[in-house]
């Protein structure tokens, strides 16, 4: 009998030690990730701040600057302050998703309404860009979820397509459903993305075209928020290049998530 007790304790001890080592490794990796993210956030915030301060300092230093030039500097400072505002907003969202998910409450929502709202809100921009957004989401598609986050999922993906694809044709579709989950696809008819990029696009501050991203006021966090929001709703998401050309996002959402 004694030998079994000893073996039993031994096994428990070994399992305990393995678990402790595993936990430490995970924590270290998470710490590294957090450090990198902190550095990235710091860098991303400092950049527009430097532009704003630089523009304003220049104006203050040269009171004899000509009107046209002064206007230019002021406009730049204003634009950059908008960029800064967007960044602060997105960083706050990511932070909450990271650390305080219970901040986001869940309600019974109709996804048809959510998607209709997104399309409605983006319709002016779509029209100006010569783009078209369509969807086939049926009415009364009920999900237990958070409105803001669900809205972000559909909004951010469509927003990307509008920004990076000329005269985009964007299609939002419910492609499948089962008792537990809903399956969606959002696709466009653009260039798609290089394969190496596909693996990284959901990473924070990852951009394929940095210059373009800045021009359209991108924060680099849009898709990261999408991914977090999808996970919050018990699903997962991937991006693939379509055979017929263009990019397709495929994701699932649980009807009931915790």
């Amino acid at each position: 009998m004694n030998i079994w007790i000893i073996i039993g304790i031994g096994v428990v001890a070994i399992v305990g030690v393995c678990y402790a080592i595993y936990k430490r490794k995970i924590n270290h990796a998470r710490e590294q990730q957090r450090l990198t993210l902190t550095q990235n956030i710091s860098h991303e915030l400092k950049t527009p701040v430097a532009s704003i301060r630089g523009a304003l300092e220049t104006i203050l230093m040269h009171p004899d600057m000509d009107e046209e030039q002064r206007k230019q500097f002021i406009e730049r400072a204003y634009q950059q302050s908008g960029r800064l505002a967007n960044l602060v907003e997105d960083i706050s969202t990511i932070n909450k998703l990271d650390t305080q998910t219970d901040f986001y409450t869940r309600l019974q929502l109709d996804l048809h309404t959510v998607v209709e709202n997104v399309v409605q809100d983006l319709s002016l921009r779509a029209m100006q860009a010569g783009a078209a957004i369509t969807h086939n989401i049926p009415k009364h598609l009920i999900i237990s979820g958070n409105y803001t986050l669900l809205y972000s999922i559909f909004h951010n993906i469509v927003d990307n397509a509008l920004n990076y694809v000329e005269k985009a044709e964007i299609s939002i579709q419910l492609i499948n459903q089962d008792p537990a989950n809903l399956y969606f696809s959002i696709s466009d008819n653009g260039q798609g993305l290089p394969n190496e990029a596909l693996a990284h696009i959901f990473e924070r501050f990852y951009r394929v075209d940095k210059g373009r991203s800045r021009k359209v006021g991108g924060t680099g966090l849009g898709l990261s928020i999408v991914k977090h929001a999808v996970i919050f709703h018990g699903g997962n998401i991937t991006a693939v290049n379509r055979q017929e050309g263009g990019l397709e996002y495929k994701f699932s959402l649980a009807r009931r998530s915790k």
Partner: protein, 248 residues
């Protein structure tokens, strides 16, 4: 004295505009590149190494598109063109939002002359630019002590003594017979030491030519000059495709 030229490398257009404005107001000439790749093309083009328009300082961001500012600095250091020319890479000031210790140390390891964090105060950038340029100029003058101008017409470099007035050349004490053009060419090379001079440039400035003298003539004179300078002949360096240079 010609205005000093500063190359600004940053993928943020606004920053380039802001820095350009203030630097120009402070009396510098500015050039802008929005990526490390673009900057390298500018720096490695013949125009940068040639007499007329060298770049005197680089303000370099770190986080940019494909190639980072750090990678660019490393590439410059190992660029053969700059090593051979004897000019040396222009001094580099990193100007970046990345201010963590590791990056700063790496910057200095790669030969940075200074490191400024964003957001920056423009007055501070101007002050540091001036300081680095002063240091670099002082260093260059120290190196120049090898060459002295004695009086109006006499140039001395190590064992070479050229006298423009009496058209004489002494190499390590020994008199060498020279033609007028050879003396003028040698003087020009010496007073523009460290700069690459194209045949065209030499034809215009030493021969005062309007096309009646061939570029081949320049080559022949260089050959004669090299021979006559004895051990110092190898100081006249050929930069294939670009021109000649007296290397210090």
């Amino acid at each position: 004295m010609a205005k000093q030229r500063i190359l600004i490398v940053d993928d943020e257009e606004d920053i380039c505009m802001i820095l350009s404005y203030s630097l120009q107001k402070a009396g510098y000439d500015t050039l802008v590149a929005h990526s490390a790749e673009e900057a390298l093309e500018l720096l490695q083009s013949p125009n940068s190494l040639i007499a007329s328009s060298p770049i005197d300082l680089i303000l370099l961001d770190i986080m940019m598109g494909e190639m980072s500012g750090l990678e660019m600095a490393e590439k410059l250091r190992s660029d053969i063109g700059y090593r051979e020319s004897g000019i040396g890479i222009p001094p580099i000031i990193f100007l970046t939002a990345l201010s963590d210790e590791d990056t700063v140390l790496q910057g200095f390891k790669l030969g940075a002359d200074d490191y400024i964090s964003k957001p920056f105060r423009i007055a501070e950038v101007l002050a540091r630019v001036a300081a680095v340029l002063r240091r670099t100029e002082a260093r260059r003058q120290q190196g120049d002590e090898a060459i002295r101008q004695e009086g109006e017409n006499c140039i001395v470099f190590e064992g070479i003594v050229v006298n423009k007035a009496d058209m004489s050349l002494k190499v390590d004490g020994e008199a060498v017979v020279m033609t007028r053009k050879e003396i003028e060419l040698l003087c020009y090379l010496l007073t523009h030491r460290g700069q690459i001079l194209s045949r065209e440039h030499l034809l215009k400035n030493v021969w005062d030519s309007n096309g009646f003298v061939l570029e081949r003539t320049v080559d022949v004179h260089i050959t004669h000059l090299r021979r006559k300078l004895g051990q110092y002949g190898k100081r006249i360096v050929t930069k294939s495709g670009y021109g000649y240079m007296f290397s210090v």
